[in-house]
Amino acid sequence: MAVFHVVNRTTGDRFRCEEDQSVLKAMELVGKKCVPVGCRGGGCGFCKIRVVEGEFRCGKMSKAHCPPEALDKGEVLACRIYPRTDLMIECMPQPAAPLAEQTKTKP
């Protein structure tokens, strides 16, 4: 079983990740919190990161959060990537939800 190192260059955190382990799972197992944990299923986009260096395999991810143009920039969900080499990652700013007007309701 190959084991690789993942470095989060935004926070300086470093942890080990096995080749069949998602980066998020490996991070959670060692108790680090340098990537936000959401659904862990590729659906919510909460754990979006950018991979700056290294190769990885991707599982299925929501197209809403990882469209092809994001993938091309290395923007992926940490819960759905599995390392093939050591990885350098960085945090992404959380996307702001599109604004909608709140209608006032009196009780």
Partner: protein
């Protein structure tokens, strides 16, 4: 039920991998697969439900909820509700009989929070699973995992709660059972029912339209909720929070995620309501306790992790 809307009937959930999802909803949650169709959709039900299906899984490249459907008492009620929705100013789409297998015609409309709902009067009556109609035993043997009793409700996140309230209460005949009010008196959460349950559907204010928070399934006892928690660990399923109790509804609960990141709840207990009950009100300043009665503080994930 004064307008003829009877109960939650079905929910169509988008998943990234259909077979992984079927395994989750059947092996872990204990739903029963009842059919598949040529679109590749998989139909499931919980054992106490009398109609053929309540959950429809469909493979897509983005998880979430396509629509939730409510069963109405009969065709006459469906015709009247359709007129009322059109008169209110909503676009109503006709879905022909059989588009969902063994389901009668449906009408579909989207409310200002961005969520699609359906009404229908007919679905194939297959009876409770694994027990006879006459002299039934207490429960069927051969159920899997959490042995979910029924599909109970959904919680949606979106804007325009006042307009959504108006449609559900004044057009569809729902009753406000519980609410959360901010200091200005703006309703930021509304729990609506057509039954004695504290919610058949709930909405929490969120700026982005059309978000799906969870689909919820009923269990009988707290022991069943603890056992569900054990199964979540045994299967290394992604947990959200629990077992704990809600302030809102006072239900005892655990939240977790399906393999595509859609949130599920199994819960037991909860308060009851009648149409003469005033809504139970929680203040937004107490939102932590309203949502997680024991921790008394919110976790960010509950408010922001959605599909």
């Amino acid at each position: 039920m004064k307008k003829g809307v009877m109960r939650p009937g079905h929910v169509q959930i988008r998943v990234l991998d259909i077979e992984e999802a079927v395994k989750h909803y059947t092996d872990l949650m204990g739903l029963i697969e009842t059919d598949r169709d040529e679109q590749g959709r998989v139909y499931l039900k919980a054992w106490t439900e009398v109609d053929k299906f309540s959950v429809v899984l469909v493979e897509a490249d983005e998880p979430g909820c396509d629509f939730m459907g409510f069963k109405v008492v009969d065709e006459a009620a469906l015709v009247q509700l359709e007129k009322d929705l059109v008169a209110y100013g909503l676009d109503v789409e006709q879905i022909p009989e059989g588009e969902l297998k063994d389901c009668g015609r449906r009408i579909r409309f989207t409310v200002p929070s961005g969520h699609a709902f359906e009404l229908y009067a007919d679905k194939l009556y297959t009876g409770k699973w694994g027990v006879t109609e006459v002299n039934p035993e207490a429960w069927p043997r051969g159920l899997s995992g959490m042995k979910a009793v029924r599909f109970d409700h959904c919680l949606f996140y979106g804007p325009e709660l006042a307009a959504v309230y108006d449609i559900f209460v004044n057009v569809l005949g729902f009753h406000l059972a519980e609410q959360v009010l901010d200091p200005e008196g703006t309703r930021i959460a509304q729990f609506l029912t057509v039954s004695m349950k504290e919610h058949d559907i709930a909405f929490i204010h969120h700026e982005e339209k059309g978000k799906f928070h969870h689909a919820s399934f009923f269990l009988e006892t707290w022991e069943d909720v603890l056992r569900a928690a054990d199964l979540i660990s045994m299967t290394d399923t992604s947990i959200d929070i629990g077992p704990t109790r809600h302030g809102l509804t006072h239900g005892k609960t655990i939240y977790f995620f399906d393999p595509s990141g859609n949130r599920n709840e199994v819960f037991c207990g909860g308060d009851y309501t009648y149409p003469d009950h005033k809504p139970v009100t929680w203040q937004a300043e107490q939102l932590g306790k309203a949502i997680f009665y024991h921790d008394r503080q919110l976790n960010e994930r509950f408010l922001t992790v959605l599909t």
